[in-house]
Amino acid sequence: MTDPQICLEACDLSVRYGGRLAVSGVGLRARRGRILAIVGPSGCGKSTVLACFNRLHDLNPACELRGSIRLDGQEILRPGLDVLALRRRVGLIAQRPNSLPLSIGRNLTFPLRHHGMGRRVDRQDAARRALQRVGLWEEVKDRLGRPASELSGGQQQRLCLARALVLEPEVLLLDEPCSALDPLASAVVEELVASLRGNVTILIVTHNLAQARRLADDVAVFWNRDGVGYLEEQGSADAVFAAPCSLITAAYLAGARG
């Protein structure tokens, strides 16, 4: 039986790009409603693994997956799975804000409409609530018809967060959501992510160890050996930060601290 506390679980997950092994043997568990921070140096496959959780790697034909990923005990890598339904349950926020070339309002109502939320009023209502949730409503309520590209980077990233939230996902994947933002905007987004604790299971990839320490309930440390990424250590944030089991983790955390 699966542990009901575990929302998302990867077992022995390996990723190949065009035949070359990129990530090998990752076993990762994310607890329901908690924030799991994924840290590690560049090029150890953190983002690659993250994109597997909503099958975004399907878009890259050169990418091959082995192993298993279970969402609420259901295998999501099996062929024939309704990928679109999966992606609605598992949202993703990219490193750079990727607002669509539409108006601010339509960035939110567009996905709703095509997921079959029939009534316009309902869509507008849901969009308003999502914007309020990310604290953007007051800033944009008078210019919902303007292109989303007119917003600042931080505003766009919050718009992307609202766009993911409007679909009411169970899991949210964040791929270094603050790395393209200035410190102020970054703090706003970080606060928002913290406020989602309890409602949504969150996996966040970050380079910023201080951020991981502030946000995370659990931490997973990735490392790479001969160009192949793997999971070095995972556990509760307190345990990993206070007393890491592995020497590599200890050195990484210490080095980054110093």
């Binding site: 679109l84 669509l100 070339p101 996905p111 869509r123 969009a127």
Partner: protein
């Protein structure tokens, strides 16, 4: 390049190249100026509203070009109706579904590259044999338009594919990450974002089709009457210029006026499509919710 290292030699070659560059620049100005000036000098006095709306008389020496304008537009219409759906579909297929270097895509691309190299007179031969005779369409606007459709297809597809590939991959990732199916992302995000580029492709196709003569000589024919239907023969502007210049003594000034109309039409369509594309893009953003 000759081997000579001295600074003096350097200077001589540099001056020679500079001379060549400036010479060519002047030559281009001169050539365009000469051609345009001659057309204007000969054609402008003949050009008037009446010229556009009157029927031709005396084998084209007098009167206007109304039936020729109408035939040209009909041929162009048939050409676009035939080429745009196939062209857009192929461009979408190549740009969105065939990113690898294997499979069906490269075959299509290779075939189109070959098609792009086929001389226009061979398109005329083919159109005559296939559309006019085998399909029984005869010398008609339909035969001519469809022949042109085959001819502009590679150009249309290549430029439309470029436009689609210019749409940032993040948009596709963003829609995919929201769990939206590919056709939604295509229709609502990718195609609108690529619209100006697609329009440029369309304009290139139109320009090519309007300029074509050889492929039309034996498909849409020479008849300068007003066409009753698409199965009638119709004379395109380019064919009219050719006929007046070659077969009608004293037709030169009428041919100049027609050439002016043709060149102006190409420029006008260019300008209009650019404007329309900008408007379309603007309307994309301005609808709230």
């Amino acid at each position: 390049m000759a081997r000579c290292g001295s600074a003096r030699c350097d200077r001589v070659i540099d001056t020679a190249l500079a001379l060549l560059a400036w010479l060519v620049a002047l030559l281009v100005v001169g050539m365009v100026g000469w051609i345009v000036a001659d057309l204007l000098r000969q054609g402008l006095p003949r050009l008037s509203w009446a010229f556009l709306v009157e029927l031709p008389g005396d084998a084209g020496r007098s009167g206007g070009i109304r039936p020729i304008l109408i035939s040209t537009l009909l041929i162009l219409g048939v050409c676009l109706a035939g080429s745009v759906p196939i062209g857009l579909a192929t461009a979408v297929f190549l740009a969105e579904f065939q990113r690898g270097h294997r499979g069906f895509g490269p075959l299509v691309r290779y075939s189109l590259d070959t098609l792009a190299g086929v001389p226009s007179i061979v398109f005329g031969l083919f159109g005559n044999a296939f559309f006019s005779i085998t399909l029984g369409l005869g010398f008609s606007i339909l035969s001519g338009g469809l022949t042109l459709a085959c001819m502009v297809l590679p150009l249309l597809i290549r430029s439309m594919e470029t436009a689609l590939r210019a749409v940032p991959a993040e948009h596709r990732l963003a829609t995919a990450a929201l769990g939206l199916p590919q056709h939604v992302s295509l229709l609502h995000i990718v195609l609108p974002a690529a619209a100006p580029g697609l329009a440029v492709g369309l304009v290139l196709g139109i320009g090519r089709a309007l300029a074509e003569t050889a492929a039309l000589l034996f498909t849409s024919g020479y008849v300068d009457r007003l066409p009753d239907s698409l199965l009638d023969s119709g004379r395109a502007l380019s064919v009219h210029i050719f006929d007046l210049a070659m077969n009608v003594p004293g037709g030169a000034s009428q041919a100049s006026a027609t050439a002016l109309v043709l060149v102006a039409l190409v420029l006008l369509i260019n300008a209009f499509t650019g404007w329309a594309a900008r408007r379309w893009l603007g309307s994309l953003h301005s609808t709230t919710f």
